[in-house]
Subunit: 143 residues, 2 copies
DNA sequence: GCATTGATGCTTATAGGAGAATACAATCAT
DNA sequence: ATGATTGTATTCTCCTATAAGCATCAATGC
């Protein structure tokens, strides 16, 4: 399970260290793709296969579905962790998520995400304001 | 079942002793996460799995849900109790709950919570004033 | 052939985390 | 009251993960 938040930095070549706590779960090779809200999604291979299978069941005749699938698959890239625990973020994805130097990894259960630090701070401070409200709304069960 | 209130202190590295009365219930490894009202929630693994399973059923396409899940999982961390009965509180969570040195553990049935001593005293003195009032609003059951 | 660029790998310094040791406090039984 | 036992607080040392700079190598274009 992927959880937690970790700060890292891109080097000049666009490589970044994968948080040591994510490495087991993500494996040596994983999939990185365009995510929603200007971030990147990182899926372990088995999760990706899972997702792919589920996406195939979506109604293909809908324009939105097609658009979504194109974004998702065309942006996807299989990356390998090098001996020093780093991966190279493909340039297109670096742009998509506006990664400069400081980035944030977050774990979201079955996937990880990479955010530009700036954007994440903005996003999370907005979200945390409503976090408690949302949780009261969303959770009609006991925590 | 987790009950009671215990005072402890953070050391310079941000570690704290888990009250010995909580250890059996929480186990060697448990989950710490951002809680409501500036505290931290501590869940035994089996309780956490429960929660996670229920959260995964939420609609992923909604922006509000995504935000909630990001906050929930990114704020979580699996920690291990060391041989001396201590755990390291991740820096982000230390900030969230404004832990300085003196902290309070409380047991709340299926989870424990950690509070900054200051904040807990503030909160509990307010709450105990309204304890009777709250219970009138809340409770329709026999004690 | 040579220079430039990008990709990959290596090395080092640093910070933060894990573990061990010790001292201190509280509880309990005799 | 005394000592034994358990639990807590604190400090020190060691080790690992990270960041950053540098070295190597291959591919490309001139």
């Amino acid at each position: 399970m992927l959880i937690g938040e970790y700060n890292h930095t891109l080097d000049k070549k666009g490589r970044v260290i994968v948080p040591s706590r994510f490495r087991d779960e993500l494996g040596d090779t994983f999939i990185i793709t365009r995510g929603m809200d200007s971030c990147l999604f990182l899926y372990p291979l088995h999760e990706w296969k899972n997702l792919e299978a589920r996406l195939k069941t979506l109604p293909f005749n809908k324009a939105e579905t097609r658009a979504f699938m194109r974004m998702f698959f065309s942006g996807a890239s299989e990356v390998e962790v090098d001996k020093q625990g780093r991966v190279l973020i493909p340039p297109l994805l670096r742009e998509h998520s506006q990664l400069k130097k400081d980035v944030v990894f977050i774990g979201v259960s079955n996937r990880a995400e990479i955010w530009s630090k700036e954007i994440w701070e903005e996003y999370s401070s907005n979200s945390s304001q409503s976090f408690e409200q949302i949780s009261e709304k969303l959770m009609d069960f006991q925590m």
